[in-house]
Symmetry: none
């Protein structure tokens, strides 16, 4: 199913989703990440061709990951990258790629700035990245995800997963160009943002609008990400969204410069 040859506008680009976690298989937690990833990748012309849910057992994760990464252009994993003993995704990815984990200096520096003397062994687990991996930004809360080969390793918490996805799309090989712009709202929660955001989203069904709330010692708010393929509609939607937020009495709204 992997695409072959020169990348053309109509070439199929495929992906698989690997959801990791006993809590999904036990029915305790309702997965929504598959749906969100499929919709997100769809705006980049990337089709999810298969999905699997694996338990928190390293051999199972390695086997599923190796089957999927050999067959599809991309694999997105969610879950198992936290600080507890059952968070073994990084170990499994390193094993699948026959490499080792190391503490990434950039993550370690972030964590030292955040935790200082409270940076314990459990938290340091989250700084581990396979040799050869690159970071995937986390705009929400906590340490980044990572990418290695054709595999992207994201958090399981849906809000964080969706935020990390924004750093996946721009790295995908895709025929049609998607334009992404971000409006940042500081000091207002999603509860007040939801109504104006939804009104603008309904007026532009061809656009994808997402809200990625952040909070922490430095403050709270949300990053509103708009994606579409028509530059004029993206520009119009940005303007409408800022106007709608302002009309709703929301302050500290500004467009983030493209990175």
């Amino acid at each position: 199913m992997a695409s072959v040859g020169v990348n053309g506008a109509h070439e199929r680009v495929s992906a698989a989703v690997l959801i990791i976690g006993d809590e999904i298989l036990s029915g305790r937690t309702q997965d929504t990440n598959l749906r969100d990833i499929a919709r997100y990748l769809g705006t980049f012309g990337v089709d999810v061709a298969e999905a699997r849910v694996a338990p928190d057992i390293i051999e199972e994760i390695v086997a599923a990951l190796n089957a999927l990464r050999a067959r599809y252009d991309y694999v997105i994993t969610t879950g198992g990258i936290g600080p507890t003993h059952d968070d073994i995704t990084a170990d499994a990815v390193a094993a699948a790629f026959d490499t080792e984990l190391y503490e990434h200096p950039e993550i370690l520096a972030m964590m030292q700035a955040r935790w200082g003397g409270e940076l314990n062994a459990a938290r340091r687990r989250m700084a581990r990245v396979p040799i050869g991996g690159e970071l995937v930004k986390n705009p929400v809360q906590g340490p980044p995800g990572f990418a290695i080969g054709n595999v992207f390793v994201l958090a399981g918490v849906p809000q964080i997963m969706r935020g990390m996805l924004e750093d996946v799309g721009p790295r995908l090989r895709t025929g049609a160009v998607t334009i992404s712009r971000t409006v940042r709202v500081e000091g207002t929660g999603e509860g007040a943002i939801a109504a104006p955001l939804e009104a603008v989203a309904k007026a532009h069904p061809a656009m994808s609008l997402g809200s990625y709330p952040f909070f922490g010692p430095e403050g709270y708010g949300s990053n509103l990400v708009l994606r579409g393929r028509d530059a004029a509609e993206v520009a119009a939607t940005i303007a409408e969204l800022i106007a709608a937020l302002t009309a709703a009495g929301i302050a500290n709204v500004s467009e983030v410069s493209p990175s």
Copy 2:
């Protein structure tokens, strides 16, 4: 992972779930069947050990079904048993079992009573069952599902799927029922919880301990879920975990009442 030998109180009985349908992989439809099946089977002591989502492509369904039915005690499939051209689950199951489909007289009689002269070719597709299969009652609406070997073939529509499940449980060889209890920690992140949790997990290898963090405008913390089959050990582990968290200086620890 399949259990072996005589069914004992602590034998593990395993199942896999195979969700069939392009609409799940495209993100158009949010699957809820995996969660519902996992919870239902859990009450019979049957653990869902793996799940897959396959597209509406016959070779893909056959390959996934054969991999799963060889490995687990049971496989539950959902979706693809309607009247349209993309409903190919029955064909795929027959191919996987190297058998043929035939029009089941009981289903045909139900349909003739329901549709009379309007029983067209598309509707008759839903009367097809593999030779050697048995019916699974549909108490909701429409034709029944079927079972063959260790595979149960159910509808994709959640209400119908749940109704059909009621005719699956009584046919299962059941394992020991898993007891699940939850300790909720509010206002403390996983980084501080990890060490005491891991110490308790290591002391009880027969138990499953998982940490499922939550956060949002209303606060943050984690639900620590303990699962095991021995009631006395579950109770002892809960007590040890609460003591270990308290000894680590963590406040706002309480057991959640079982639902």
